[in-house]
């Protein structure tokens, strides 16, 4: 095995392959920063260019592109509240708040570190335990997916605004918005009002861009701009690569570990990818935090958790692809094409017959995640300064990026209208104290919850016991219920302890 690893590293370190990975990194950085352009589209566009290359060289370009673009989306998320890539959505919540405090360099540095760490963790899992891990994915049926969605929703009260009730309402609104469009089971049109633009439902990224970016510009304008600069805005610190300190790393060790494991496992599951991983990384960080109320105000855990998880999902997504031939995400689904044009068929046979290639892919993943640091260094010095531009330049630029970013996803004006509508909705909801993060949570998990619940019911002949008789599903649901009740139990216990202390004193 060690020999194979050595061969893998030797292959990756060959000049031609290193150059290929650098090219992939630069394309990934550009794609990640530009809103509206996703890793899936970039991989699809680059595959034809790899046709004349050696198989491993072509695959390494794509891997490097995939890893870097997943990270780079955090740059615009932190600076402008516009996620360059869907997996960076959760990074907006604390990343942008930290940037507003004048610590954009620190936020971007943490995103680099966390992404690299998450990516390397999942690479190690990919190399060491990919076969046992892939069997976990097979155990996941519809009941387990539904339980997972319930577990995700159980943290909605703790993230977003100050009011628990309004946070829950926000999540339910999100769940409802996810029902628009063609029904996932029977194909019936729901709430489309005869408009073909809504047949595919409310497109997620344009909605997020509207909710966060456009509503933010509206708020800044409303607060008043003195001489074109924001009220109470702090200039950025001297911009340096604000990598986390040793104390921060020690403080966040459990966050890194938890998010790496969550990201890797979610990456392995077919149908849910880095976006869901980032969400679960964030929500579990909230759940286990000693100060959950600080999330969303600009704390470093709020960047570390989702960024570790989303890059861990990139390696996780390769596990079912390499071991079973089943893609774990949309990017890896497109990546199958790259394997096929080189005459390779991912799956158990490739794992056995093409060991050298497989271990080169593992090594490629490892180096691609290290290249994220270089990508960050290239991007960070330039982009962190953009925050200090007067708002009469930054504000219009954000509005332009919001429009072009939502348009470029499907070349559709419908998406731009969705962005505009959600800009207004986001502004109104924020003014009323409803959390936007729970709403996003509902939108991410709504489809997963409905499809998995209905399919599980159909398969079990409408016996709801299927949800609690399967061990993984039952475990997840019990965990969700306990975590929902935990604040109440804690309150009760503290009350009791308070009374005892009072009596003894």
């Amino acid at each position: 095995m060690l020999e194979l690893f050595a061969f893998g590293f030797y292959t990756v370190l060959m000049p031609v392959n290193l150059l290929a990975m650098m090219a992939g990194m630069l394309i990934g950085l550009l794609i990640g920063i530009l809103p509206g352009l996703g890793g899936t589209m970039a991989v699809a566009l680059i595959i034809p260019f790899t046709f004349n290359m050696e198989p491993i060289t072509g695959i390494l370009i794509l891997i490097s592109l995939y890893c870097t673009s997943t990270y780079a989306g955090s740059i615009t998320a932190i600076l402008f509240k516009i996620p360059g890539e869907a997996p960076s959505i959760m990074t907006i919540l604390d990343g942008h708040e930290l940037a507003k405090k004048g610590q954009a360099g620190r936020a971007l540095g943490m995103a680099i570190f966390a992404s690299t760490l998450g990516g390397i963790f999942s690479t190690i899992c990919l190399a060491a335990v990919s076969i046992p891990l892939s069997t976990v994915a097979i155990e996941f049926g519809d009941a387990e997916y539904f339980a997972m969605a319930v577990m995700g929703l159980s943290v909605c009260s703790g993230i977003g605004g100050k009011s628990v009730l309004k946070n829950v309402i926000g999540a339910v609104i999100g769940l409802f918005l996810a029902t628009f469009g063609t029904s996932p089971i029977s194909g019936t049109h729901r709430f489309t009002f005869g408009w073909s633009g809504l047949l595919m439902g409310i497109t997620f990224i344009p909605a997020v861009i509207g909710l966060f970016a456009i509503s933010e510009v509206f708020e800044e304008v409303e607060r008043g701009l003195k001489g074109g600069q924001r009220e109470g805005y702090k200039r950025q610190e001297k911009v340096r690569i604000g990598m986390p300190t040793w104390e921060e790393i020690k403080y966040l060790k459990w966050t890194f570990l938890r998010s790496s494991i969550i990201g890797t496992i979610i990456g392995i599951l077919p149908g849910v990818g880095a976006t869901t991983a980032a969400f679960f990384g964030y929500s579990e960080a909230v759940r286990w935090s000693k100060h959950p109320e600080k999330f969303g105000t600009g704390i470093i855990e709020g960047i570390a958790a989702p960024e570790t998880a989303n890059n861990a999902a990139t390696g996780g997504a390769m596990v079912p692809l390499l071991t079973l031939g089943i893609p774990g995400s949309s990017v890896t689904a497109v990546m199958i094409g790259a394997f096929l044009i080189h005459g390779l068929r991912p799956g158990p046979m490739m794992m056995m017959q093409q060991e050298k290639l497989v271990y080169s892919i593992f090594a490629g993943y490892f180096f691609s995640n290290l290249l994220i640091i270089l990508a960050g260094i290239l991007g960070i010095k330039f982009v962190a300064r953009l925050m200090d531009f007067p708002y009469h330049k930054v504000g219009p630029a954000i509005l332009l990026f919001a429009v072009i970013g939502s348009y470029a996803i499907n070349n559709s004006m419908t998406d731009v209208y969705v962005t505009l509508a959600f800009g207004f909705i986001g502004y109104v909801l924020k003014k009323q104290g409803f959390g936007l993060a729970p709403m996003i949570l509902g939108m991410i998990l709504g489809d997963l919850a409905e499809v998995s619940l209905r399919r599980a019911m159909l398969l079990s002949d409408f016996d709801p016991m299927i949800l609690i008789t399967r061990p993984i599903s039952a475990g997840l649901i019990i965990f969700a219920v306990l975590s929902l009740c935990y604040p109440l139990i804690q309150k009760y216990l503290l009350k009791g302890r308070g009374k005892e202390e009072l009596a003894s004193s």
Binding site: L165, V172, F176, R190, V221, E222, P390, H392, V416
Partner: protein
């Protein structure tokens, strides 16, 4: 008061959408737990939570008054906000007619002005620069089919991409 209005609007919208679910066709084989099941469940929960929000606000009573005053103090520039919102709507509605590049160039000038820029040359150079950069990256580099507009705007766009 704000919560009562918000809760009432949510209840009203939930009832409206609930009514729409009764219009969904029933697909053969999916009568039980059909397409209306999930949206109805979610809407039921939303109505319930909105009622709780209203009741909770009623029970808390007068505390809201002071909050309202603080809220009003924090928002000194409502006219600029409404103008920005209005221009944003006009900009997006104009894109299919004026084309992406022309409408973006004009909108960026207006947005810059609304957000405090008073230097005419600065506004024009900024808008031009951003529009050209968008054109180069999206239209020429990655072949995004930017809206071309109609009439002479279409001819202009056809010349460029």
């Amino acid at each position: 008061m704000n919560n009562i209005v918000a809760g009432s609007i949510l209840i009203g919208l939930s009832i409206f959408f609930f009514y729409l679910t009764t219009q969904f066709p029933i697909v053969k084989g999916y009568q039980q737990m059909g397409d209306a099941f999930w949206p109805r469940t979610v809407l039921f929960v939303l109505i319930g939570l909105s009622v709780i929000l209203i009741v909770q606000t009623f029970l808390k009573g007068g505390k809201k008054e002071s909050a309202k005053k603080t809220f009003l103090k924090e928002v000194p520039d409502r006219p600029a906000l409404f103008k920005t919102m209005g221009i944003m709507i006009v900009y997006i509605l104009c894109i299919p007619y004026l084309g992406f590049l022309v409408s973006t160039f004009l909108a960026l000038i207006v947005f810059s002005y609304l957000m405090g820029d008073r230097k005419a040359s600065g506004m024009v150079y900024f808008s031009l620069g951003m529009t050209v950069a968008t054109y180069l990256v999206f239209a020429l580099l990655i072949y995004t089919a930017l809206p071309r507009g109609v009439w002479i705007f279409k001819s202009l766009s056809n010349l460029l991409y």
